[in-house]
């Protein structure tokens, strides 16, 4: 019993010692000035998505400050940064999912190829068919696996015949690496699959409408390591045909799957570089502090 108390005291002493250290750290990070301009190389030649001076507001709160970024064709770009830094908000403005939030306003120039995303004449339905999205929590519809995947194509009338639809479903499930696991139970409910399978089903559902860009908002945060590894492998394969922007909290994941990495900090885009550069020789202090785990 005495030893326990001793241990307890020691722990408390450790805590006390640790506290000021963290405080110093945080203060020093807060003092670090934001760069005037995003450092690194935010722009590429012939981008798939061209985003300039993007500002996003929730009522009077500005969540995103002047972000300019290019997303190249067939590249995987990961958006990293501490919680609440606006990565997801930024991602959601790329297919106008923020439209569903009444108080949210997006300003700036956002282009998909030559198409202005916020052109009032643009039909948001058409845009979302071109820019698909996979969410943090797997959200299959409470319908059969087949109907989950066939939902998008049916919606947009992509297949006239049952045969064509079957083919789209099979191809999408194959691409999502799920075909062999579910081909014998296509008509059982999608909600009966495991978490990792559900997320791959959601990816299959997204690519069934052949989007040009796939946005992924922390697709692995609710999954175990094995399921995560499968999804990461999948992202790698998908990058051959799609442009992918992925928000992730795992730096290892960003390092493993992405070609370029963008670091967000409190609504500002601090640094964009090749993934390797970001994780080995970050240009900005804040990026370095984050990837070395000094805060986050």
């Amino acid at each position: 019993m005495d030893t326990a108390r001793e241990l307890d005291n020691r722990n408390r002493a450790d805590d006390d010692a640790a506290k000021p250290l963290i405080d110093v750290e945080e203060r020093s990070m807060q003092d670090t000035p934001y760069p005037e301009k995003t450092v690194g190389s935010p722009f590429v030649d012939a981008p798939k998505m061209k985003l300039r001076n993007v500002n996003v507001f929730y009522a009077d709160n500005q969540a995103i400050h002047d972000v300019s970024l290019d997303i190249g064709k067939n590249e995987v770009i990961s958006l990293i940064g501490p919680s609440g830094c606006g990565k997801s908000t930024f991602l959601r403005s790329l297919n106008r999912m923020n439209d569903t939030i009444d108080i949210c306003r997006v300003k700036g120039e956002l282009y998909l190829d030559d198409q202005d995303l916020y052109d009032p004449k643009l039909d948001v339905v058409e845009l979302r068919a071109r820019v698909g999205m996979v969410f943090q929590k797997p959200n299959p519809f409470p319908k059969s696996i087949y109907d989950n995947v066939a939902y998008g194509p049916r919606l947009h009338g992509l297949a006239d015949k049952k045969y064509d639809l079957d083919e789209i479903v099979e191809n999408s499930l194959r691409k999502a690496g799920l075909w062999t696991e579910v081909k014998d139970r296509l008509h059982s409910p999608g909600t009966g699959l495991s978490g990792g399978q559900q997320q791959r089903l959601c990816i299959a559902r997204t690519i069934a409408v052949s989007p040009e860009v796939v946005l992924m908002d922390e697709p692995c945060s609710a999954l175990d390591p094995i399921a995560t590894a499968k999804i990461e492998e999948l992202i790698d394969e998908l990058s051959e045909s799609y442009t992918i922007a992925i928000v992730t909290h795992s730096m290892q994941q960003a390092a493993r799957v992405s070609h370029r990495t963008a670091y967000f900090h409190l609504g500002r885009l601090i640094e964009v570089n090749d993934t390797e550069t970001v994780f080995t020789k970050p240009e900005h202090e804040l990026t370095e502090a984050y990837i070395t785990g000094r805060f986050g």
């Binding site: 297919n95 999912m97 979302r128 999205m133 299959p140 519809f141 939902y151 998008g152």
Partner: protein, 422 residues
Amino acid sequence: MSETTAKVRASLARRYRQEKRFQAYGILSIGVGLLALLILFTDIIGKGHSAFFEHYIKLEVSLDRDVLGIDDVGDQEQLNYANFGGVIKQALRDRFPGVDDRQRQRLLYDLVSSGASYSLRDELKADPALLGGTRELWLLADDDVDLYLKTSQKKRPEARLDDQQKQWIEELEAAGDTDKRFNASFFSHGDSREPELAGIGSAIVGSFFTMIVTLCLSFPIGVAAAIYLEEFAPRNKFTDFIEVNINNLAAVPSIIFGLLGLAIFINLFGLPRSVPLLGGLVLTLMTLPTIIITSRAAIKTVPPSVREGALALGASKMQVVLHHVLPLALPGMLTGSIIGMAQALGETAPLLLIGMVAFIVDIPGGPTDPATVLPVQIYLWADSPEQSFVAMTSAAIMVLLAFLITMNTLAVVLRKRLERRW
């Protein structure tokens, strides 16, 4: 033992005692509720069960052509004007000879229901060969006779019947000329001044038409309003105002809706009174808030992730609602509607104000025929002076309760069956 453990241990007994006491309170309240229900049911069933049976008296009836005034049974006119009452009276006089003065004769004639002549007519129509012959027939007893036969031997001396009548009835009973049969006319007949002829048939049909009108109006309107408010309406002062007022409407006493129906539907729009169409309209107003509130609650339980998933695939808002929200929320909406309909089925007050309290003998043929509804029929009978109506009131309550229990069970079963988990 450490200090903390000692303190925890000391408090444990007290905590468990509290838990036990709390459980006991819960069990006690449920017990009180069940007891009340038991008393209610025993009382109603105890009073009402006898109304499901009625007594018949066996008489030797001679269907004399001259007394009846019929020579051709196929002639409906002759049948309608035939003196069936006369042959029944004759039969009674034959059964109890020696009743000569008018007063005693009247008492004698009162043993058989005035409705017996109609059943006699129907019987003759079905079998024309009866005409001219003599036949033993079972005739419906008058309600007072019926009541007397239903009372136990011990209580018979106190019964409100003339002593002479009592004597005749005892005589008939001793001879085995009385019979207790299932009261089928209770379910098929309309209201009547004579308890032995009255039934809940017209009230059930009236309730049915009223419910159909209510359902056809309140379900689509309620669901559409709920979907609009939940999925499409902007959040602003105006929608807040609507929301507050829907909740207010749900709390408005139902009689106010009756007044509204009287003022708007009858006086302004000139709808006929006492008809199920009008009753349905008024009950729609009353049920709408319930359906809107429960439907909105059902829509709220649909996870937003499903909506986002569909939106991200390029579904329009309407498609999201039709393909995902509505199917998932439907069980909840149906349950809410059935509960709202059960409420409407038991509603009396607003219907009194729009004239559905009328004395309706005929069974309504459609929503625009004058009708009454079950709870109003109960109210009417509870008000009637004849003693036999006490049992009939309870019997009608039993029928109403049976409908309500069926509807509520259906709501529970539906919810269990259609409930989806995600």
